[in-house]
């Protein structure tokens, strides 16, 4: 174990079905749209977002841990792809406004 000082880095991993793979959940969402009188939405893909903190000496080594976790556990490379993004706040969802909106950083990005 290294004694190098560590900081906490927070990330989000977004996992989505690969293009071309049938996504029955996305299809179910699309099929519900007429009930909401929404007709302009298509190509819905349902995935999963995992947020986590990593203690590491620097951002690249923290990101390397997340990449390994994402490829070996959080996604199945046969059927899913993923992206890793740095997250500023403890959570990208705020609770003070009902938890429905993104952080300013994410909304801007």
């Amino acid at each position: 174990m290294s004694d190098a000082p560590t900081r906490e880095f927070r990330f989000a991993v977004n996992v989505l079905p690969r293009p071309g793979i049938l996504d029955p959940q996305g299809r179910a969402v699309e099929q519900s749209l007429p009930h909401l009188a929404i007709h302009a939405v298509s190509a819905v893909r349902v995935g999963r977002r995992i947020e986590l903190s990593v203690a590491a000496p620097d951002e690249p080594s923290a990101r390397a841990v997340v990449e390994r976790l994402a490829s070996e556990l959080l996604s199945n490379p046969l059927i899913e792809g993923y992206t890793v993004e740095a997250v500023a706040a403890a959570s990208s969802v705020r609770s003070d406004d009902g938890g429905a909106s993104a952080t300013p950083a994410e909304a801007a990005g």
């Binding site: 049938l22 029955p24 959940q25 959080l74």
Partner: protein
């Protein structure tokens, strides 16, 4: 007597039926706890159905990293016989011990009903006891059983004879179309079970252990269990002969 292990994960729920079916087939069933890497010298391992570790994240993925699975992977790499049933198939697929992936059922519904599957080959350790190639009736019960591999992988599986079972209709015709009524989950090319390239690790979604006695409505599943027991007995005898003949 041939000893056959059945792994018990937290959330396994077909382990007892599987142990029972193995003893009906004349072997000595051994429960293997997921936290122990010790396979107890068994001649074959079965990963039973259920919801290992709650199936959180993706069915089978957490189980894949359990201590027992490291031993199962080593056992398989050494040529040991491994059969994954339903959730056990999902664990094997997540571990990369059999090809493909099991997606959410195309209907999004959990399906629990009887299906017919046709073995593609009778020359495998998992089908060898079957006298003729005919449809076998047994139940499925799963939410994530839609077999997926990309088109090139599917072609390669077919070419290499790695498709072990396909869903078929009552007349034995393949339910290759994902929307075919006899295809319970939308599996591509109607694939219900596959075997690895070496032929010693197989997985299938239907439950042979739930069709192991006539009183259950079908005993077709016993052909698979009996095949596994025969194959395990043969491999145990072979390895005993090797170690007896060896220098030691």
């Amino acid at each position: 007597m041939t000893r056959i292990g059945v792994v018990v994960f937290p959330g396994s729920n077909c382990d007892r039926d599987t142990l029972h079916a193995i003893s009906l087939a004349g072997a000595d069933p051994v429960a293997l706890w997921h936290e122990s890497p010790d396979l107890g010298g068994v001649a074959a391992v079965v990963l039973p159905g259920g919801f290992a570790y709650g199936d959180y994240l993706r069915a089978g993925v957490i189980a894949r990293f359990s201590p027992v699975m490291r031993s199962v992977a080593d056992f398989a790499a050494a040529g040991g016989l491994v059969l994954g049933i339903c959730n056990g198939f999902q664990v094997l697929a997540e571990a990369g011990l059999v090809p493909g992936a099991l997606l959410r059922n195309r209907s999004l519904r959990f399906v629990s009903r009887e299906v017919s599957i046709l073995p593609e080959r009778l020359d495998t350790p998992f089908t060898r006891a079957l006298p003729i190639r005919r449809p076998l009736r047994m139940p499925v019960a799963h939410g994530e059983g839609c077999f997926f591999a990309d088109a090139a992988q599917l072609d390669e599986l077919e070419r290499a004879g790695q498709v072990l079972f396909r869903y078929v209709d009552a007349e034995g015709r393949p339910a290759g179309d994902p929307d075919h009524p006899a295809n319970p989950n939308g599996s591509l090319r109607g694939i219900a079970g596959v075997v690895n390239g070496r032929g010693n690790v197989a997985g299938l979604m239907p439950h042979p252990e739930r069709a192991a006695e006539a009183v259950l409505g079908s005993d077709d599943g016993m052909w698979l269990i009996r095949s596994l027991v025969e194959s395990a007995a043969a491999s145990a005898a072979a390895s005993a002969a090797t170690s007896a003949a060896g220098p030691r």
